[in-house]
């Protein structure tokens, strides 16, 4: 724990000295770096070291200074960007600079270390989530509203929400289709030894192919179809747009769903299946009562992998005009606008983490319900 908290303290100590705010006359122009006033530097230095001390003397309370450090960092980011913009033109932007990022990183690691301390002390885990409530409150009361990324988000407003929704729609549609197609296929393949071996072999080979290349390879046949049959093009089949992106994403997600399905169904203990047969279960009863419940946790982890992959692939799919959060990433890369990149990349990353955590939770729950945890 000490080592983790030391790792947390280092970036915070460095971050307190480094510039916190980058003030630019508009979102593209170069700007000037602003540091924190000495009072706040001192406060941050103290808060950087406090978790270390707490872990030594009062481990169960480590979460207090760690949470305070994170909330102070977020609050400082909000107030310092606000202060920097006083008297500036409307186009001026105040972004977070290296100091702010390092401090936030360190505070995050400190919170992680504090959670380990809480767990080691056998205390309830809810204290580890107080920071989220605090950050939420700071967001809602407008403290952060002068930070350039949120300024950008405000100006994008409804369009950003649309892109996020489009991202979610792409991912969930592709995932749903992949499960609808992949699940029966997996059941069919797992009953046939050679087919199952072939599926696993192909799935493993295809997995080595880069996702971007696979996306490209999958778009080519669609594009060829559209060229050969112009009627199809009017029906929405073409090399660009939502249809090819969805097709490519579905096929891409099909692999983990299919592979884990086959592995999971083959992994059902032979004794349980034999016993079920010997008891007089029909094939359908065997599948629903024994094979599926036992395969579900492993299968679900394939669905989770597919979902996480899809969040990433959907970001790339904006290249072919499918929309989604990738739009902001590529727009930002083209115009070298950091805030736009952040507006796309940070939500995409958070989305992937959230999807992963949610499905992982479902897996654990199912695993426990289905007797795997014992």
């Amino acid at each position: 724990m000490q080592a983790v908290l030391l790792l947390a303290a280092l970036p915070m100590l460095a971050g307190a000295w480094l510039p916190w705010v980058l003030l630019r006359p508009n979102r593209l122009a170069p700007g000037e770096y602003l540091r924190l006033p000495p009072v706040w530097v001192a406060a941050l230095l103290v808060l950087a070291l406090l978790p270390l001390a707490a872990a030594r003397w009062r481990p169960a309370l480590t979460w207090v200074p760690a949470t305070l450090a994170l909330l102070l960092a977020v609050w400082l980011l909000g107030t310092r960007t606000g202060a920097a913009l006083v008297g500036q033109a409307a186009f001026a932007r105040a972004s977070a600079a290296s100091g702010a990022w390092l401090t936030l990183l360190g505070a995050g690691v400190a919170l992680y270390g504090a959670r380990l301390c809480t767990r080691a002390a056998g205390r309830p885990a809810w204290t580890g989530l107080l920071w989220a409530a605090g950050v939420g409150a700071l967001l809602l009361n407008g403290t952060l509203s002068n930070w350039s990324v949120l300024v950008e988000a405000r100006s994008e407003g409804p369009r950003w929400v649309q892109e996020l929704a489009q991202h979610l729609r792409l991912v969930s549609t592709a995932l749903g289709l992949a499960v609808l197609i992949g699940a029966p296929l997996a059941v069919w393949a797992s009953g046939r030894e050679r087919v199952a071996a072939a599926v696993l072999g192909v799935a493993n080979a295809v997995q080595t192919i880069p996702s971007l290349a696979l996306l490209g390879l999958l778009i080519a046949p669609l594009s060829a179809l559209a060229n050969a049959f112009p009627a199809l093009r009017s029906a929405g089949v073409s090399g660009i747009g939502v249809a090819p992106a969805l097709t490519a994403m579905t096929l891409y997600a099909l692999l983990p769903v299919l592979r884990n399905g086959v592995v999971a169904l083959l992994g059902v203990p032979a004794g349980a299946v034999d016993a079920a047969r010997g008891m007089g279960m029909t094939a359908a009863q065997r599948f629903w009562r024994v094979e599926l419940p036992l395969a579900l946790p492993v299968w679900l982890s394939g669905v989770r992998q597919a979902a996480v992959l899809l969040v990433g692939v959907a970001a790339v799919a904006s290249l072919i005009g499918a929309g989604g959060l990738g739009t902001y990433i590529f727009k930002g890369l083209q115009s070298a606008a950091t805030d736009l990149i952040l507006l796309g990349a940070v939500p995409a990353a958070l989305l992937a983490v959230a999807v992963d955590a949610a499905l992982r939770g479902l897996e654990t729950l199912l695993g426990r319900r289905l007797g795997r945890a014992a």
């Binding site: 983790v4 971007l212 290349a213 080519a220 996480v308 290249l319 990349a345």
Partner: protein, 243 residues
């Protein structure tokens, strides 16, 4: 079982010949455009820079990151698997898990504000992503060393350093090598995305083709990137095959 492994090994040897051979053939100027242009998906002419240069850039980025990843990842894994470093190991495992989750494009894009455009952010992304399988496999491998073997080594009077070099690392080697193989193959994919940041490489024709709606261009890059990944995978499987 033995026969199956032997045929598997023979297949592996064939793959290690087949994929690199196909890749080299496709790199001969004019071969790939000659194959793709008749499909009527668009037009591919001569490339500037030529395809073999793009492939070399790609390969160079991947191999460079691979070396750096090994240099960083192995000591890291060794450090967090020592006794009484449970908290550090958990932190490492959490970060590794996070790395597996966050989309490649997001990480690469986030590196741009810090490092600017070009190969630098891509290399950073390659290192970050490459560390994931190497560290996680090395941690699994080192933790999987049987306590019996370690106890015997201690009983023979080996120092901690001798135990690491003579017992733990040799025993964990197959798992670590498998991690290096996964890391390298995945990085071929990550480097493709790096083209969006101007890193060059085989992602360039794909990204250009996608944004110019020239599917032939996309196909050129995709075929080469896929062949490169399959070649590296097959070649590394020769070394990294589990005992």
């Amino acid at each position: 079982m033995n026969a199956a492994r032997r045929t598997g090994g023979r297949l592996g040897n064939w793959a290690a010949l087949l994929w690199p051979a196909l890749l080299l053939i496709c790199l001969i100027p004019g071969v790939l455009p000659g194959l793709i242009n008749p499909l009527g998906l668009g037009n591919v002419g001569a490339f500037e820079p030529p395809l073999w240069r793009l492939t070399l850039t790609h390969l160079g980025l991947v191999l460079l990151s691979c070396v750096i990843v090994l240099g960083l990842g192995l000591p890291l894994a060794v450090a967090v698997t020592r006794a009484r470093r449970d908290a550090l190991r958990q932190l490492a495992e959490t970060l590794v898990g996070l790395g597996q989750t966050v989309p490649t494009l997001a990480v690469l894009a986030l590196a741009v504000p810090v490092l600017g455009f070009g190969w630098a952010p891509t290399l950073l992304g390659l290192i970050a992503y490459g560390l994931v399988p190497v560290v996680s496999n090395a941690v699994v491998g080192l933790r999987g060393v049987s306590p019996g073997a370690l106890d015997a080594a201690r009983g023979m009077g080996m120092s901690a350093r001798q135990r690491l070099w003579r017992v733990e690392l040799p025993l964990a080697r197959p798992v670590i090598l498998a991690g290096v193989r996964t890391s390298t193959v995945y990085n071929v994919g990550t480097a493709t995305v790096g083209a969006a940041l101007g890193a060059g490489g085989l992602g360039e024709p794909i990204i250009n083709g996608l944004s110019q709606q020239n599917t032939a261009l996309v196909l050129t890059g995709a075929v080469l990137a896929a062949l490169l990944a399959l070649s590296l995978d097959a070649l590394m499987s020769l070394f990294a095959a589990p005992h």
